[in-house]
Amino acid sequence: MSRSQRSGEFPHFPLHLILLVYVVVTLYPLLWVFTIGFSGQQNLMIVDIPANATFLDRLRAIVPWPAHLSVANFTSVFTDQPFARWLLNSVVIALATTVLGVFLACTSAYAFSRFRFPGRRVGLMSFLVSQMFPGTLMMIPLYIIIVQVLGLGSTYLGLILVYSITAIPFCVWMLKGYFDTIPRELEESALMDGASAAVIFYRIVLPLAKPAVAVTALFSFMTAWNEYIQAATFMDKINMYTAPVGLKFFVGGFQQQWGYFAAGAIVTAIPIVALFLFLQKYLISGLTAGAVKG
């Protein structure tokens, strides 16, 4: 099928050109992060230019490349602190957040998309509204609820709950929007055949909504993966910290050890890239003509 469409598509060469330009824009700052990480030093970059710099001098100066390659920063990150353990905690928390967040979001998004009930608009709006609260003053009440009332300080569960609830509003809206685009006829015919709501949801709706589920899963994971202030506040045991908390040790107060931070940042980015690679195939698994018509 793709072959037949190619005739109507844009020529590919200019597209590649555009993409390449944007690849440079995207990668340039990141290359500096790599440069810092692999420099073995602790300073952020500066460009080094000779007197009366020519065009070429300047060009050479702005290309990110460390003077000496060294993995010293990476080894220090792992040997100074139990960073590997913290990465593991992050993985556990982020995965659990993803599962819980996506599950809760799917069920309520499905209800919001398919049922008409009083309070539906208010409920949907309230998810949106929740994103409007500036979080600056929420920390203390949240601490009281999670640690004092629920007693979930220094537990995975405490953070998982907080993170999934943080991620849910976006996930619900995203999934609801996507569910809306799935034709109802499919479900109605299944209903005629006597399938229950749960079966319809898992057998028909969910498989068709794979791209949206992939997006929400990625989003939930990221929410949990990058957060540090709540993790640092709710966890009172060194073995329960997460990777972002560990990263923060390098650049607090007066001390700014950017080399370690960059190395740590690169390491923490790897699982996200891996997850994205895994989710890619779902992200682009679109509706096929046949499936819709049933």
Binding site: L19, V33, Q131, G135, K176, G177, D180
Partner: protein
């Protein structure tokens, strides 16, 4: 509904429920007010005694045998005092004590023992309070501390001064506070029963006329509340009167006992009279002035106090009446029963949405309510331990924030903007938000469309690369961007110079500084939008394009009439949410420009942060946050109206 339930029955139920709520609340408040009055009476009497002892102790020079004898004399005179302690900071010395445990080996004078640290700390606290208040010329920190003691009495402390500076502390412990007068439960019950019976009689007369029933129910309810209000006011003003007489009596009695102790002092000090008019004081040791110099209650001042009390009672009862009427109408007009029916009818939908909503209520809306309450208070670092009700300021914070129109002033050099003004900040925030979201959506969609081209080589690789800025912690990438905008060592200026331009000092002007922030955030926001668009593009069936092509539609027409409408359901929520997130995006501005120059590139959230964590004005910061919330809410409602995002297909 097949059969309408009877109006009179519904209203009867409504009246009873409303009466129970309204009268019950009033009664509850009355009981609390009387308990409080009882407690404050005991406190004032105790403060009078404390002031009397302190005056004598200060005259005794705060130390020595004469002090101990004088203190013992006073303690012997006043049966309400369980113990008097006089403490001197220097040398951690307990100078005098009449406490039963301080006998024999532990008799004063002696050094404080290790477990007496709290008393010493209290004395230090009072000394610091007096010094702070003097330094600031204000009454900010309490100079008399009152707390409940273990035996059900009160434990009070006041600073002991010598030559104008605090050298120690006088502490009192009183015997148990008498229990509050029993509040009559019969009265409210009679009110409820009477009003209920009256409604029943009326209902019999009127039958099923709904409007009339509602009217009479309301009138009856109000009458009942007025009766309750008068009842409460009488009780409270009686208590007030009792308090003033008790305090006046205490001043008289303590004057006598102080006079008895005076001969124990040095002859020069003992001859001078005491100053009982100053003894009835507030926690800042400022005389209240209700008890006159003659030891009698100043009637004018007392009446004045009663008048404010009366208007307060009216306000409270008024509020409860409104609540009660709401209950009445809710039940009376049948909303309650309809609510029940709705829940059971749509139980499936509610079950599906309940877990997420419950979580949101617990972890988002409850903390938010706290924020709302905070925004109506003057909570600050200095009032961290004060209950919110005591620092309630109403809408003052909001008036201060929104009523400040000093946006700019004209000077000889032209218009000078006031960058701290909320309207300037709002303007900056809007520019910031619109630019970022527009770029993010535009670029994200553009890249997604290209990457959605069938058969394009290397697509997975492009996709991963474009997602990378999202994957890297933005703390470091934002700093890299800041570095790229450095005047001398930044890449951007190097590139400008490569092509012969002159370097720009990016953070010197508001416009270029904001540009640097926006460039950073725009770069960060593309991946998210691209992923959303990629996902959304998959929902478009290829058949649609096929059909359009058959009809001879151009590529632009296809985009306008197929791609965009199909993207809408997924894209609209993403746009709304990213507007909200960008509006409240704290990190990037904080790291890249830090508000430079002169706060001109602050956005609203960074300002709120500044008020909370640099200026420690939590109430004000909460109000500022509420303004942010209101703006976003207005936007959300508007956007929802335009795009119908909450509607289904």
């Amino acid at each position: 509904m097949s059969k309408e339930p009877s109006h009179s029955r519904r209203f009867a139920a409504g009246v009873v429920a409303a009466l129970v709520v309204g009268v019950g609340l009033s009664e509850w408040v009355l009981v609390r007010a009387r308990t409080q009055e009882n407690r404050s009476r005991a406190e004032r009497v105790a403060v009078v005694a404390l002031s009397a002892v302190t005056e004598v102790a200060e005259r005794a020079g705060g130390a020595g045998d004469s002090l101990r004898r004088a203190v013992a004399t006073i303690a012997g005179q006043n049966p309400g005092l369980k113990a008097i302690r006089v403490l001197v900071l220097d040398g951690l010395s307990l100078e005098a004590s009449t406490a039963s445990e301080d006998r024999g080996e532990k008799a004063a004078p002696r050094r404080l023992t290790r477990d007496e640290k709290p008393i010493y700390d209290q004395a230090q606290r009072l000394r610091a309070a007096v010094e702070t208040n003097r330094q600031e010329g204000a009454a900010r920190k309490p100079e008399i501390e009152v707390a409940g003691s273990a035996g059900g009495g009160l434990s009070l402390a006041a600073p002991l001064e010598k030559d104008g500076s605090v050298v120690g502390m006088v502490a009192l412990e009183t015997t148990a506070v008498p229990t509050a007068p029993r509040t009559d439960w019969l009265f409210p019950v009679v009110v409820v029963a009477g009003a209920g019976a009256a409604f029943w009689l009326l209902a019999v007369v009127m039958g099923e006329r709904r409007a009339l029933l509602a009217l009479f129910a309301c009138l009856l309810l109000m009458a009942a509340m007025v009766v309750m209000g008068r009842h409460a006011f009488t009780a409270v003003s009686g208590d007030r009167r009792a308090t003033e007489s008790a305090v006046a009596a205490a001043v008289g009695a303590d004057e006598v006992s102080a006079a008895k102790a005076l001969p124990e002092l040095a002859p020069g000090e003992g001859a001078k009279p005491v100053h009982p008019a100053n003894w009835d004081a507030d926690v800042f040791r400022r005389p209240l002035g209700v008890i006159g110099a003659d030891g009698k209650v100043d009637e004018a001042k007392f009446e004045q106090g009663l008048a404010t009390g009366s208007s307060k009672t009216a306000r409270v009862v008024g509020t409860f009446t409104v609540v009660a009427i709401a209950v009445l109408l809710f039940v009376g007009f049948g909303a309650a029963s309809r609510l029940g029916a709705t829940i059971s009818k749509h139980h499936q939908a509610y079950t599906y949405t309940f877990p997420a909503i419950f979580g949101m209520v617990l972890l988002v809306f409850l903390p938010f309510l706290y924020g709302v309450a905070l925004s109506f208070t003057g909570k600050s670092l200095y009032t961290s331990q004060v209950p919110l009700s005591e620092i309630w300021v109403g809408v003052k914070n909001f008036v201060d924030i929104l009523g400040d129109f000093h946006i700019a002033k004209s000077t000889v050099t032209g218009l000078v903007w006031n960058y701290q003004n909320i309207y300037w900040t709002l303007g900056v925030t809007i520019v910031w938000t619109v630019t970022n979201v527009a770029y993010g959506v535009g670029m994200g969609l553009f890249l997604a469309l290209i990457l959605n081209t069938k058969g394009l080589l290397l697509r997975p690789i492009y996709r991963v690369i474009f997602v990378l800025p999202w994957a890297m912690p933005n703390y470091i990438t934002a700093l890299i961007w800041k570095g790229m905008f450095h005047q001398q060592f930044g890449v951007i200026n190097q590139i400008i110079q490569m092509f012969g331009g002159t370097p720009v000092s990016w953070f010197e002007k508001p416009s270029t500084s904001l540009f640097a922030c926006i460039a950073t955030n725009a770069w960060l926001s593309v991946p998210f939008m691209m992923v959303i668009c990629l996902g959304a593009l998959q929902s478009i069936s290829a058949d649609l394009y096929e059909a359009a092509r058959v009809d001879g539609a151009t590529r632009w027409q296809q985009f306008r009439s197929i791609t965009l409408p199909s993207l809408k359901p997924a894209l609209i929520p993403a746009v709304i949410l990213s507007v909200i997130w960008t509006f409240n995006m704290f990190n990037i501005i904080y790291i890249v420009s830090g508000g430079d120059p002169d706060h001109s590139t602050e956005i609203m959230i960074t300002q709120a942060y500044k008020f909370a964590f640099e200026q420690y004005r939590y109430g004000y910061a909460a109000a500022y946050s509420m303004v942010i919330f209101a703006i976003l809410l207005a936007y959300g409602i508007w956007q929802n109206k335009v795009t119908k995002a909450t509607e289904g297909i």
